[in-house]
C-alpha cells in the first residue's frame, strides 16, 4: 500500500575517497533499494565531487564507485539530485556529472538532476527518515 511506503532520503556531503563515508553510503543505498521504500539521494557540499565523472582510483589501489553509481537506475533509484550552489561553488557544471543509468526506451543516458536549495529543503521536509553520509 502506497501510504505504507517510507520516504527515505540520503544526503551525501562528504567528498569521495578521503574517507569511507561516500562508499558506505552507496552500499546502504543499494541495500535499501531492495526494500519497498521511496528513495531519494541528494549530493550537496563536497558530496558533489562524488558524482563527478571520470574518477580513476587505480593508483589509489581502491575499486572506486563510478561504475556502481552508473547502475543506480537499474536499482530503481532514480530520484538523484545535486545542489546547484554546491556544484557551482566547486567549479563544476552539469556537464561534469556522471551517468546514473539509461532510459529504458530511448537508451539516453540519465544524469542526476541539478536543483536549487529551496527545492531540496522542501523534499527534506517530506521524508520519514534522512540518512547523512
Amino acid at each position: 500500500m502506497a501510504e505504507d511506503i517510507k520516504k527515505i532520503m540520503f544526503t551525501v556531503r562528504k567528498p569521495p575517497h578521503g574517507t569511507i563515508y561516500v562508499y558506505e553510503g552507496l552500499e546502504v543505498k543499494l541495500i535499501m533499494a531492495a526494500y519497498d521504500a521511496d528513495i531519494s539521494v541528494v549530493f550537496m557540499d563536497d558530496g558533489v565531487f562524488a558524482v563527478k565523472k571520470g574518477q580513476d582510483t587505480k593508483a589509489l589501489g581502491i575499486k572506486g564507485f563510478e561504475a556502481t553509481y552508473g547502475a543506480l537506475v537499474d536499482y530503481e533509484i532514480t530520484k538523484v539530485f545535486v545542489d546547484r550552489q554546491s556544484m557551482e561553488e566547486r567549479g563544476m557544471t552539469e556537464e561534469d556529472l556522471l551517468v546514473i543509468g539509461e532510459d529504458e526506451d530511448t537508451e539516453e543516458p540519465i544524469k542526476p538532476q541539478v536543483v536549487d536549495s529551496d527545492e531540496i529543503a522542501a523534499m527534506m521536509a517530506e521524508q520519514h527518515n534522512i540518512l547523512a553520509f
Binding site: K14, D45, I130, A132
Partner: protein, 97 residues
C-alpha cells in the same frame, strides 16, 4: 524538521549549509562542537542570527557547560538530553555531520 549540527562553524561549513537548507519553523539543535556557534560576539554570530530569523535555535546544555559557554547569542535557547529526545521523537531529523 529538526537539524542537528555537531561541528564547529569555525572549521566546517555544516552550520552554513544547515541554515541554507532549513525552512521557517524548523528547529536547529547545536550539539557537541556545534555549540561553539552559540558563543556571543564571534565571527559566526551573524550566521547564527540569520538562523534565528527563521528557525528556533537550541543548544545542548551539557555541551555548553563542558565548553564554559555562558555568554550566548541572544535568542539561542538551552535544552537538555530529555529535550533532545523529545525533539527527535517529534521531528524528521537531519544530522549535518
Amino acid at each position: 524538521m529538526l537539524h542537528t549540527v555537531n561541528k564547529s562553524p569555525f572549521q566546517n561549513t555544516s552550520l552554513e549549509s544547515c541554515v541554507r537548507f532549513s525552512r521557517p519553523g524548523d528547529v536547529i539543535l547545536l550539539i557537541e562542537d556545534g555549540v561553539l556557534a552559540a558563543q556571543a560576539g564571534s565571527a559566526k554570530t551573524p550566521l547564527l542570527e540569520e538562523a534565528l530569523q527563521k528557525c528556533q535555535v537550541l543548544a545542548l546544555s551539557a555541551d555548553l557547560k563542558a565548553r564554559a559557554l555562558t555568554d550566548l547569542v541572544p535568542g539561542v535557547q538551552i535544552t537538555d538530553y530529555n529535550g533532545f529526545v523529545d525533539l527527535v521523537e517529534q521531528n524528521t531529523t537531519h544530522s549535518w555531520l
